[in-house]
Each structure stands twice: as C-alpha cells, then as structure tokens.
Symmetry: C3
Subunit: 154 residues, 3 copies
C-alpha cells in the first residue's frame, strides 16, 4: 500500500507501510478487531524526528510527529485490509510522548492525531484516546502511537 | 448520568461523566467490549489534584486520585450503557502513575482502584491489571487510568 | 501449571504461575481474547532482578528480565486454559522498560521476548508489539510485559 488512497471522498497520501523494527508483525486481526503495532515517526525506515518534548522539541514539532506516526498506522492497517474502506473506525488511540517531567500539554499534541483520524473516519465515528508522557522511546523518537481498529463486516 | 446509582445493592455516588479534553470520545463499544478513554482525577472538568508521586504527593494522596479517576471511568461507562447493571465486569484496568524514578510502591496505589472495582462488580468478577510509572501526565495530574469493560449480553 | 510443557514439539520449562501483587486476577477471558495482567521478572514471588536499564543494568540483563516476565505470562495463560495448546497466538505484546531518559535500544531488548514467543507459537503466528521506556516499575524491577492472547476455538 502507500500512495494516495481515498476514503469518504478524501484523498489521503499514505507512506509505504513501515517495516517492523524487530521480531514482530505490524498487524493481527481477531474477529472485527485489528491490532496494530506501536507506530513511530519513521520515514523510509528512518526516524524523521528525534528529541524530547519540552526540551529539544516544542509542541508543534510533536504534533507533526504524531501525524506522521498515525499515517504510518493507517498505512499498516490498509496494507492488512487492502483498502481503507474496509475499516469502520478507530476504537482506541493511545499516544506515548517522550517528554520532560514538567510537560502538561499532552492533549494538544495528541489532538493532531485525533483530528487526522476524525477527518478520515468522520465525526460520527469518534475514537477513545489516552495519552501519557514516557521517559524514553525507540531510537530517541518523541512519539509512539498505538491504534486498534474495528473492521467493516464482510 | 452521575448521581447515586446502585449495583449489587451497593449505592455508588458517581460524578457526572467527564468531558473529553480533546477531539475524541469517552467510550467506544465493539461487541461485548466497551473501551473507555484515559480517565484522570478531574472534578467538574478541573484537576482535583496535581503533583508527582514520591515527591510532592504521598501514596495516600495518589490512592485518592486513583479512586476519583476510576469513578470518572465508571460514570463514562454508565453514561454509555444507561445503567451500571449492564456492565458485567472490568476486563483490564491499567494505571499510569506520574512518579519519581525511585518510586516502587505501585501495587498499593493501584489497589485503591482495584478495591473499588471489586466492591462494585464483586469478588467473583475480578479484573486484570497493570501499573507503571510515567514521566508526565495531562495537566500535571498524578494518575491516569484506562478501563476496558465487558458488557452483559442483551 | 508450571513445569515442563510442550507445544509444537518444543519443551518449555514454565515457572509456576505468579501470584498477583494486589487485588486483581492474572487472567480474564472475553470470547477468544485472553487478557493477562502485567507480568514482571518475578521468581518464586520475589523480584529476580531490579534496576534501571542504561544505568545499573545493561541491555543483556534487560533481555533476561523480559524473557522471565514472558515466561510468567505464558504460565499464567496456561494456568487459565489448562494447556498451551489451547492458545492460538499472541495478539499484542507490550513491553515497558524502566530506563534512563537517553536509552534508545528498546527494540533489541523487546526482541528477546518476541523471539521466545515466536519459538513457542511459530513464525506463522506473529504478534503485534509496542515498547516504551517508563520512569518507574513495581518493586524497582526493570521490565513489565503485557500479553493479550487469542485462544483456539473449542
């Protein structure tokens, strides 16, 4: 997958599905639930952005990183189903931010991902969310996101 | 919802369901599973408690914060189903504690939430749990909890 | 359970299922999904290893700790089902590492668990994974893992 896909009349430019960083797989489906591995702000297999939010990175850079990680997750999911139209909604969107201990503005950073997901799946299909600040992330990247999708019935 | 509800003959005073802090929704149901967004120790939409466990807050204050966050989660879930009696059990209870690096007493803090859930759903319906210490949380609050419920069949 | 079990012709020495550290249960099943509580590198109910990865512990010690936590999770799951053969696969493998802020080699540490799970369930049944660095863990232990399994249909 990857390339420009459409959903709800919206054209979305998806990156190629990211390759796992270790001995695991991007997606596993159980019934209507599609579990997706932790997604990072990788571009062409390399960290597109590194740093700590509140120290070397500001909230706007973190918002960009969340969007890229979410796009990687959408690409992984659509590589599984063959098309974004086979996905009904996001069930759960979890966001880990590599931040300073003093950082408090998690909601604003995570909203960049939520707004993208709302554009793709529609406001009538909202998702649950949780966001917290972690101490370290793979490769020094500032965000990692986890997505659980509900697929359309066949 | 909110107000006093009963379950198993127990009267439980629930706060009003909390409003999301961003572009997401409190609950999404897939089959019998009800996913609930990350719940914080908010009261009337404002942090009821802020700080870092092991530094500005002790374990007892953290236990209070976990209880409040769990009550918010119960309120969100019962706003979804209309009644607590439609909920069979908690499947998964995840607790993030904003702590110092040296903090080790996670089990005692998380137990305040587990004890509340056991009072509500009964010892014959125990839940799985995980707890870890994070570096930062939204608004500087000391705890965030995540609940996945199993609903009764209709 | 515990003791030597076999799966796919492989003999696996499982520790006895760990006792919960608080008011919760090791496993809850909903349909084909088996949720397992956070698993730690406990041996006979006591921390087998403590410390911070990147400071008092190196990556190899962390890899050992992940393997032990995963074995505890397999033991808990097989205590639920009665046999490892009733488990089809791991759906989701989440790894929390107690690390320094500068730690970046999460993938290598988590791979020790992924490689063990791949040996048990086979390369044709891979799992999704996420790994991040937390600030503190129960009892000062360096890793905590969470496993969601898919069970075989009866």
């Amino acid at each position: 997958m990857g390339g420009v896909v459409t959903r709800r009349g919206l054209a979305i430019a998806l990156p190629p599905p990211p390759r796992p960083l270790g001995a695991y797989t991007p997606t596993v489906q159980v019934g209507p639930l599609l579990f997706v591995s932790g997604m990072l702000p990788l571009r062409a297999g390399k960290p597109a952005i590194v740093g700590t939010i509140g120290k070397s990175l500001d909230a706007e850079a973190a918002r960009d990183a969340v969007r890229l990680a979410v796009l990687n997750g959408l690409s992984a999911a659509s590589a599984h189903t063959g098309t974004l139209d086979a996905i009904r909604r996001v069930v759960r969107f979890a966001v880990s931010l590599r931040s300073t201990p003093e950082f408090t503005n998690h909601a604003s950073v995570a909203d960049s991902g939520s707004e993208l997901l709302t554009a793709v799946f529609g406001p009538e299909m909202p998702h649950t969310r949780l966001v917290y600040g972690v101490r370290s992330l793979p490769g020094g990247m500032p965000v990692e996101v986890e997505l659980i999708f509900e697929l359309e019935e066949k």
